[in-house]
Symmetry: C2
Subunit: 178 residues, 2 copies
């Protein structure tokens, strides 16, 4: 079936700050052409930071796209040439002020496959060591520790909606049988 839908053109519309926007021209099996959106994203990493007493460190930050604060696991885009494991460790320390040398891959997600190639590799970090929070210029967030039970309740009350956070927390629960 892979030859049924064929891309015959990809045109850059705008190079953005963290994404680039393209319009693709697709040839459909019935011969018709269609314009499809494509968002190029360079990838990201996220981390479930688990404290000694089994709590999860979460960050609350203002999200311009939603015009409100959201509660999320620490995450961020990859720097040029950076592995997702290195990015996860870096974002953990920058956003929470804790470092870890004990990162294990949990799962990978594609955030929104209908129009974007963004991939996020999600790690679990244990044996956290206190260092210093050091945020980007455009980053303002609060850190808090929650039990998995509290976070699970917030997911089913639809108070936590961020897809990487839901995927990560539920995968952590299921994988480790907590």
């Amino acid at each position: 079936m892979s030859d049924e839908i064929k891309r015959i053109d990809r045109t850059l519309v705008h190079k953005g700050t963290i994404i680039d926007y393209y319009v693709d021209t697709m040839q459909l099996p019935n011969g018709n052409e269609a314009k499809w959106d494509f968002i190029q994203h360079n990838g990201a990493a996220a981390v479930v930071p688990v404290t000694e007493d089994g709590k999860i460190l979460m960050v609350s930050q203002y999200r311009n796209a939603l015009e409100r604060y959201t509660l999320e696991i620490p995450a961020g885009g990859l720097n040029a040439g950076e592995s997702t494991a290195a990015a996860a460790a870096r974002e953990l320390e920058e956003e929470t002020g804790y470092a870890s040398k004990d990162l294990e891959i949990l799962l990978s997600i594609r955030t929104t496959v209908a129009f974007c190639n963004e991939k996020i590799d999600i790690y679990v970090a244990k044996n956290l060591v206190k260092t210093h929070q050091h945020l980007d210029e455009d980053e303002y967030l609060n850190v808090g520790a929650y039990t998995l039970g509290e976070l699970e309740e917030m997911i089913f009350e639809r108070k936590i909606e961020d897809s990487k956070t839901i995927s990560a927390l539920l995968a952590y629960k299921v994988k480790y049988g907590i």
Copy 2:
């Protein structure tokens, strides 16, 4: 903290097929300005269709953004004025050829909060009744039934990566204690 980062302009760059792309100008608390990407999306619905013998109906479709097939739960964008419950029921029937009058909300996700407002309401559908598949002109997909155990394995083997699918399947497992 909500007044710390302030949007001072939003400019439409391109109206796409399923998304619109904007560039926002933000004023940071230190007085600097920054350009942030914003993708407007009208929202979507998805559904975990559970068969009489407890299997999940999944769809495999070619995703241009990833240049490969992905295995996902049935989903689609909202039509104008359509509720997410109606859209979930419609997409279920269009994509799988099964209808259900027994839909229950499971959770809501925001696919990628750093730059997009897309929200997907995800339902569980039971008591499936065979009708007819009727796909959109640009939609080509295969339907299959899987056990939750098979799907869970594919998530942790990183063969299923779609965020709405992972969030939905793990939430279904955790909520119903399967």
